[in-house]
């Protein structure tokens, strides 16, 4: 009812961060006298929106996000009186390309993916509708296997990374960007890099990685896009492809060798820190070496530890609110 005080922390947001947040919440509940926080998924956007709905007990305390907060979110927060927000980076997430364990091995470059999935590609200097049927058509070094890719749907934060780090880079590398810009002008040319073919070769998955895996099992010749931690839990079913010759792993991502990765964040509403019991403790516990450090349970589950974790710990202790976006 109206007159009851909330005593558990409420967290909402990215489904990518969700497993890490639950691992921390569980350990927090076990080791502190506070109740175990309630952690919800629903997507980074939904989480940030809920965070910015206002200050007060019937709003959440922390938003998980697999991408950086947007200016529009910050504006929305301001409008609703949510002024001080801490941005906590918890580590990095690798995005991997995996196929059935019994299939052939793949070694990709972003350009391969662009040429395989783009609606239009450049053939002999001309912009044509994508004619490629097999990976072998794309790149003679790749196996002769029909192209079928399960990529994250546009609701996923992962898709944005895929668009930027794979398609755009591939577009540039392969030189198609220039041809597009030449043919369509600056703006439409850049857009054309991200336009995917619609003949069923590229399949958007709005569900989770489990769905991608299930579809992969139904279509053995397909390639799916997964999070690193999901892959690590299913190494007996999936084999991972290299990107630019680098095999994805916690180490290669941490060293910055593997190109397709992104930072993961959560955002804390400072105004709640003193009001929701245990909130400060939870935030500190999350970024403690015990949890988020190398060798901790999060890393064991597939989170790539942040080399600058100490800085984050300091910031969290001081409750330093985030500055303006650069």
């Amino acid at each position: 009812g109206v007159a009851e005080a909330r005593d558990q922390i409420q967290i909402k947001g990215s489904s990518t961060v969700l497993p890490y947040a639950t691992i921390v919440a569980e350990a927090f509940g076990e080791n502190f006298s506070y109740p175990t926080p309630v952690v919800e998924g629903g997507g980074s956007g939904a989480g940030r929106k809920a965070l910015c709905e206002g200050v007060g007990e019937n709003t959440i305390d922390i938003a998980d996000s697999s991408s950086r907060i947007k200016q529009s979110d910050i504006d929305n927060c301001k409008a609703n009186g949510v002024n001080d927000i801490q941005e906590v980076r918890i580590g990095y997430d690798g995005i991997v390309f995996a196929s059935d364990i019994n299939g052939p091995k793949f070694a990709f470059t972003p350009a391969d993916w662009f040429k395989a999935l783009a609606a239009e590609v450049v053939v002999d200097g001309k912009v044509v509708a994508n004619p490629n049927k097999s990976w072998h058509d794309v790149n003679a070094d790749l196996p002769d296997q029909a192209i079928l890719a399960f990529i994250p749907g546009t609701k996923h934060g992962t898709r944005e990374v895929f668009d930027i780090k794979v398609l755009e880079d591939g577009c540039k590398e392969s030189g198609a960007l220039e041809a597009f810009v030449a043919a369509k002008g600056e703006k439409d040319g850049e857009k054309a890099c991200l336009a995917l073919r619609t003949d069923g070769v590229s399949v958007d998955i709005d569900g989770d990685y489990t769905e991608t895996l299930a579809r992969l099992e139904a279509n053995k010749q397909a390639i799916g896009v997964f999070g690193l931690s999901f892959y690590e839990n299913n190494t007996d079913k999936l084999q991972v492809a290299t990107m630019n010759g680098v095999t994805p792993s916690v180490e290669t991502v941490a060293k910055g060798e593997y190109p397709v990765s992104r930072p993961l964040y959560f955002y804390v509403k400072n105004a709640h820190l003193d009001v929701i019991p245990g909130l400060q403790e939870y935030v500190e516990f999350f970024v403690s070496d015990d949890m988020a450090g190398p060798g901790g349970p999060l890393a064991a589950y597939g989170l790539v530890p942040d080399p600058e974790l100490a800085k984050t710990q300091e910031m969290v202790k001081n409750r330093t609110p985030m500055g303006p976006l650069d």
């Binding site: 558990q8 497993p19 639950t22 691992i23 309630v38 349970p297």
Partner: protein
């Protein structure tokens, strides 16, 4: 469907005295069509039942294994040097030792066990051996110690959970071959488990915790249970039943028996039919806007879920109830009115009991739908990781809770394949819920069903 009458048989009038035993051409046609129709009915029923058993079969074959769980019996020395450095058994101090501090105790206990039994597997270090034990183990030992501080310094026998992959090995999910590829388990660990099993240290037992324990994080599928979800679903169903059945029946009675037949009732009628077509997710939007943002009810609470599901099931119940009320013959109403019963008495004494089977059917379908619904709960915060049990009603209605379908949904999105088995197990539990509800309704329906 062949229409018997369109065939233009030659015999117009009945030739008198034709035999009954040797039917005419046309009759044979009609009889054949009768048999076809009947066969089609039987085929349809068979199809329904086969579909049901197919689905149930696959659910059960995937899910029942989650009712068993592998555990390891270990004698753990509760070392005072580690657990209570001060030595005064002060709970405030004991709490300071976190689960991380308990891991070494378990490791030591396992090593000792292996040593005394003379078990060793080539290429398996003591550290790796720990992998066969669930990450839940330190927490359960810690809870035990906090509850029984006096036991510190003693050696206590614990039945601790084996790791999910080890458990999967005994359920056929993991094999020696897959273990070779699997980063989370190695063939050596499986061999060790086999040896422990031979010694009787490791055993697979009925998994009561599955029904009572709360959810667990992605690293501990073996510890995940349905306790909170069962409570949450039960609370929500209670709210739905208590609200939607009376409101639905009352609304139907008003519309069917009292409301004047005019355009207003037409609007209400169309409106209710339309509500049945509103996607359940939209009810979630409604719940978020009205119950949480406007009325200020808490997030993730069964009360909000129950209210949303109530609104969602109402149209189903109203439609079924109105159809059932319509089917009660007017002569029964007249009979009651004729002996001087008031309209209200007529309805409550005669019409409702006769309509009860139909009403119950609507209620079953509506409740079943509510029980298995996920989408609207997505928006009101019920699809969450909740480990604290909600309190007793009515306060408990306002505590965060999960729900069975949500738990299924949650578990199917997790990385560790062990959760797939759990999800199927949760579906089995959900179906048990459903079966109990159905059986109650069937018993009631039997009592009311009659032809007049």
């Amino acid at each position: 469907m062949t229409d018997a009458t369109t065939t233009s048989a030659g015999d117009i009038a009945h030739p008198k005295g034709r035999s009954l035993v040797v039917p005419g051409e046309r009759t044979r046609h009609r009889q054949a069509s009768e048999r076809r129709f009947r066969a089609m009915g039987l085929v349809a029923v068979a199809f329904g039942i086969v579909a049901l058993f197919g689905l149930l079969g696959s659910i059960l074959s995937n899910g029942t294994s989650s009712f068993w769980q592998t555990s390891i019996a270990l004698d753990i020395y509760l070392d005072p040097a580690k657990l209570d450095k001060v030595g005064d058994r002060n709970p405030d101090d004991l709490v300071k030792v976190t689960t991380f501090g308990y891991t070494p105790l378990i490791k030591a206990a396992l090593a000792k066990e292996l040593e005394t039994r003379g078990i060793s597997v080539e290429g398996l270090s003591a550290n790796d051996a720990m992998d066969i034990i669930s990450k839940e183990a330190p927490a359960s030992v810690r809870n035990y110690v906090l509850a029984h501080p006096s036991k510190i310094g003693e050696t206590v026998k614990f039945d601790i959970l084996a790791d999910g992959r080890i458990d999967g090995y005994y359920k056929g999910r993991v094999s020696m071959e897959s273990a070779k590829l699997d980063r989370n388990v190695s063939p050596e660990e499986l061999m060790l488990a086999d040896k422990l099993k031979k010694e009787g240290v490791l055993a697979t037992k009925f998994n009561t915790a599955f029904f009572t324990a709360p959810d667990a994080s992605d690293t501990r599928p073996e510890a995940a249970g349905l306790g909170v979800a069962i409570l949450g679903s039960a609370y929500m169903m209670l709210i739905v039943l208590v609200l939607s059945l009376p409101i639905g029946v009352a609304a139907s009675i008003y519309l069917e028996e009292f409301a004047p037949q005019n355009w207003i009732t037409d609007i209400i009628e169309v409106n209710i039919a339309n509500l049945a077509a509103v996607p359940s997710i939209v009810f979630g939007i409604l719940g978020l806007a009205v119950f949480i943002n406007w009325a200020g009810l808490p997030q993730s609470a069964p009360i909000v879920g129950g209210l949303v599901l109530t609104l969602m099931t109402l149209p189903t119940i109203i439609i079924a109830t109105r159809a059932a009320l319509k089917a009660v013959p007017p002569s029964i109403r007249e009979a009651a009115l004729g002996v001087g019963a008031s309209k209200m008495q007529t309805i409550f004494h005669h019409v409702l009991p006769l309509a009860a089977p139909g009403i119950l059917t609507g209620a079953i379908i509506g409740l079943a739908q509510a029980l298995g619904e996920t989408a609207p709960l997505l928006l009101i915060g019920m699809v969450a990781f909740v480990r604290e049990y909600p309190g007793l009603p009515p306060e408990g209605f306002f505590d965060p809770a999960s729900a069975l379908p949500v738990q299924v949904y949650n578990w199917t999105t997790r990385g560790d394949p062990a959760f797939v088995e759990r999800a199927s197990g949760a579906i089995v539990v959900l179906l048990l819920f459903l079966a109990v509800m159905n059986i109650m309704a069937i018993i009631l329906r039997r009592r009311f069903e009659r032809r007049w």
